[in-house]
Subunit: 154 residues, 2 copies
């Protein structure tokens, strides 16, 4: 099977989020047939919704389209290591593969912090492929927070 990286599309979503004044994280959900099911960037401020992370919005849209609360066979591309909320939603949705860009030592919940997939209470662990376009993802975040805070410390 030919492998196509969808990280450029996820990064495009992150750029659009930054332009809206949102933390620049983007996600693309790919269906079992290889087509794009959903694209999303963070919208927590716009929607006044702390759950409106890119991953959650993409999962909710994919579930709406398929009429199912589970998304077996799907693959999620995210520019940043998911937080514990998103990691647990990815597990609940039974997403098959999680591709992500930069690690997030400050807020992450996959490699860092709560490590949501690494406990017996996690009933579905996706395959995880990380570090994809990590430099670009991280640079985008650094520029965003530098603009907000006057420095580049994440």
């Amino acid at each position: 099977m030919e492998f196509k990286s969808h990280m450029p599309e996820a990064l495009a979503q992150a750029h659009e989020a930054a332009a809206r004044g949102e933390v620049p994280v983007g996600a693309v959900l790919i269906g079992a047939d290889g087509r794009v099911l959903a694209r999303a960037g963070n919208r927590t401020r716009e929607l006044s919704d702390p759950t409106a992370h890119a991953e959650i919005l993409a999962i909710r849209e994919g579930c709406r389209l398929l009429g199912s609360e589970r998304l077996p066979g799907t693959r999620l591309w995210v520019t940043l290591e998911p937080c514990p909320m998103c990691a647990a939603a990815i597990s609940a949705a039974r997403i098959e593969v999680l591709y992500y860009g930069a690690d997030d030592p400050r807020m992450g919940g996959v490699r860092y912090g709560a490590r949501v997939f690494d406990h017996p209470q996690c009933h579905h662990r996706p395959e995880i492929i990380d570090g994809i376009s990590a430099g670009e993802s991280r640079q985008l975040l650094l520029e965003f927070f530098r603009g907000l805070r006057g420095n580049g410390n994440l």
Copy 2:
């Protein structure tokens, strides 16, 4: 300040969820002024949305009403220990106090599993008061799963 338990209302939401064929968990969000901001029970099946846990629905409704992605000063009553997704959303929303009923060794993310609030990556930890009406909450779940599976093992 007079203390009023809102667990009976949360349990009523859990009962209504069970009647809809949803996992019987209920939540009530109390505003800083002591009034009920939102009530919700699980609706993952009805909405085809794996994120539609009682806690998430109550948080989203509260945020919508207040026009804010943060809910400082609010208190959330939940019949069951929140999963990692909900625990992280509770933290992101800056909820002040989390009251919950039964522990959930199988799916929980507060006392069990990912222990979302117990890592440096968690930037807001609510006050936590647990074990409230735990017997009734647990009984409701046992009856629900017994009906589904023909036994009472959670």
